[in-house]
């Protein structure tokens, strides 16, 4: 297998970006990455792109702005896997190089929530739902059941059930969610690209926010951000040829194993996964990614992780599923400050998805942040310990897709 490195990273400023259109937002991240990599646009041989089309209201938006990102006349491949999409685009870009087809590939993913006239993600979800509703009517589904299913089906709805399952299994309390959310806001304050920043935020501050759906408070919920994140991959030969001398992050293993969907089930028959906190797909993805990366003990060998956790319980749940802590013990680690930036096992030092969620961008941002930690370029939120291996994770679909990427400071031998 070919060794592939991340030689450049770029992010747009995340937040509510009504000052730019979707194309301009993506271009911001792309040209920042090209500059960071120190290469010429002509060096880029191919592109990997993706977002969730419904949110920005453009079908195949990459075709509209191929010539904003230097892709005109070049190969461009698009993937979309829901919330996972950033992670999936990162994997696609990696495979484009690893396959031997190209030497330098740019991967970018993004989301523009603020183009919706309705709040949050509502427009995006409903916009693409038009067609499927006629389908549901055809199979005889009652509109009332749709409304019930819709309420349960949106990400926050599923996540509330998931949090409850996780609490029952692990014995953690809402106060642990408060701690995780406070950490996210505090870390975000140190990240210039982040959205919700709250220096010195404490668990008590979060505990004072309104309870939305038990066990989730307002302070637990991620924002709907606009943003774009980008990485540039190069093969080991290209790293030499391009004369890259700055530290790079090597991709050591990737995997994305899909589980069955939660909630609705095959053709809406309700035959789906029952315990949304089970996450067999995440366990399998991590196992396979570690195997490909030659990691035997993630607890010891992984130095920092960027977990895709729009809701705080997911940081706890996935940090167990990815093998960083024993089952049901992550909340104890949080109590002890293990996952803080200066802790033994820092998780989401960037503030993570809980503080910044531009859906399509979020998965890629995890890869960017993990790479920055390895390159030592995370600035204020750089973890103080040596970073040799980092994990970037994303989840999506109906809590069924997981992408895991292991990055390292040296190529695999």
């Amino acid at each position: 297998m070919r060794n592939v490195a991340i030689i450049g990273c770029g992010q747009a400023k995340h937040g509510r970006r009504t000052d730019v259109n979707q194309a301009e937002l993506v271009a911001e991240a792309v040209w920042a990455a090209v500059e960071d990599a120190g290469i010429a646009p002509e060096d880029i041989e191919a592109y990997a792109v993706g977002n969730m089309q419904g949110f920005g209201g453009i079908a195949q938006p990459d075709l509209v702005f191929a010539d904003y990102i230097g892709a005109a006349g070049k190969p461009m491949q698009r993937v979309a896997t829901g919330g996972t999409v950033g992670g999936s685009v990162a994997h696609l870009g990696y495979y484009e190089v690893a396959s031997g087809m190209y030497d330098v590939v740019l991967a970018v993913s993004w989301e523009k929530h603020s183009d919706s006239a309705e709040p949050g993600a509502t427009t995006g979800l409903l916009h693409v739902a038009y067609a499927n509703l006629s389908y549901m009517m055809k199979v005889g589904m009652d509109m009332r059941s749709f409304a019930i299913m819709g309420l349960a089906g949106a990400a926050a709805g599923i996540s509330a059930y998931q949090a409850a399952f996780y609490m029952a299994r692990s014995g953690c309390g809402i106060e642990h969610f408060d701690m995780v959310a406070a950490k996210a806001r505090r870390n975000a304050a140190k990240n210039k690209y982040a959205h919700l920043k709250w220096p010195n935020c404490t668990a008590d501050d979060i505990a004072k926010t309104e309870m939305l759906i038990w066990p989730m408070r307002f302070g637990h919920v991620c924002p709907a951000s606009d943003g774009a994140s980008c990485v540039i991959y190069a093969s080991e030969e290209a790293v030499k040829k391009l004369g890259v001398e700055k530290p790079v992050a090597w991709v050591k293993g990737v995997a994305a194993y899909a589980d069955e969907e939660a909630d609705q089930g095959e053709a809406y028959q309700g035959t789906a996964v029952v315990d949304y906190s089970d996450q067999t797909g995440a366990i399998l993805s991590a196992m396979k990614a570690y195997e490909r990366a030659g990691i035997k003990d993630p607890k010891k060998e992984i130095d920092v992780a960027e977990i895709y956790a729009p809701f705080p319980h997911q940081e706890l749940m996935f940090s167990e599923r990815l093998g960083f802590f024993d089952d049901g013990t992550a909340w104890k680690a949080v109590e002890e400050g293990v996952t803080e930036i200066d802790g033994d096992f820092p998780i989401c030092p960037s503030g993570g998805v809980n503080a910044t969620n531009a859906i399509g961008s979020s998965g890629m941002q995890r890869v960017v942040e993990a790479a920055l930690q390895i390159m030592g370029k995370a600035e204020e939120h750089q973890v103080p310990k040596d970073v040799r291996n980092a994990v970037a994770h994303a989840w999506g679909g109906q809590v069924q897709f997981n992408t895991v990427m292991v990055l390292g400071d040296s190529p695999k031998r």
Partner: protein, 151 residues
């Protein structure tokens, strides 16, 4: 089984796209009955509507790259539309066919797609010169540019 499509859906899903600053200038120009383009300083390519990245050489552009076009253009290609989409997936047969054309504006290298009016569908030809028809009281909105007509 009959097929039911989106009648009586219990919601609306609308967008309010941010257009970016340079596009706002473009709409603003309409108030003065003016069409603005962006000319790339690096490769000389002139693009309309204006944008922040040159589509040919990827150079960065901004408001300083804006140039005024005289509004006149040439029809590169046209089509007489007999069926149009209703926005919800259905085709509507037009009682009176409408003409749409690819127009290259004087001074621009890119083309735009625009309605052509005040013309008999039999008479429209490629290579025909056209001029914009503006709303009586333009307000700096996209709807100020009504259509193009031969002239």
């Amino acid at each position: 089984m009959g097929v039911v499509r989106y009648e009586g859906l219990p919601f609306v899903a609308r967008f309010r796209w941010n257009t970016g600053k340079i596009m706002e200038k473009f709409y603003g120009g309409f108030a003065e009955r003016q069409i603005l383009a962006a000319k790339c300083e690096n490769c000389g390519y002139t693009v309309v509507p204006p944008r922040v990245i040159c589509p040919k050489c990827s150079s960065k552009m901004n408001e300083n790259n804006l140039v005024k076009l005289d509004g006149r253009g040439v029809v590169l290609s046209y089509t007489v539309v007999r069926k149009k989409l209703d926005g919800k997936g259905g085709f509507v047969t037009l009682d009176k066919p409408e003409v749409i054309a690819a127009v290259k504006l004087n001074g621009a290298d890119s083309m735009i797609f625009a309605k052509i009016g005040d013309v008999d569908v039999e008479d429209i030809k490629s290579g025909m010169e056209v001029v914009p028809v503006w709303a009586e009281k333009p307000e700096g909105r996209l709807s100020d540019l009504l259509y193009f007509r031969p002239g």
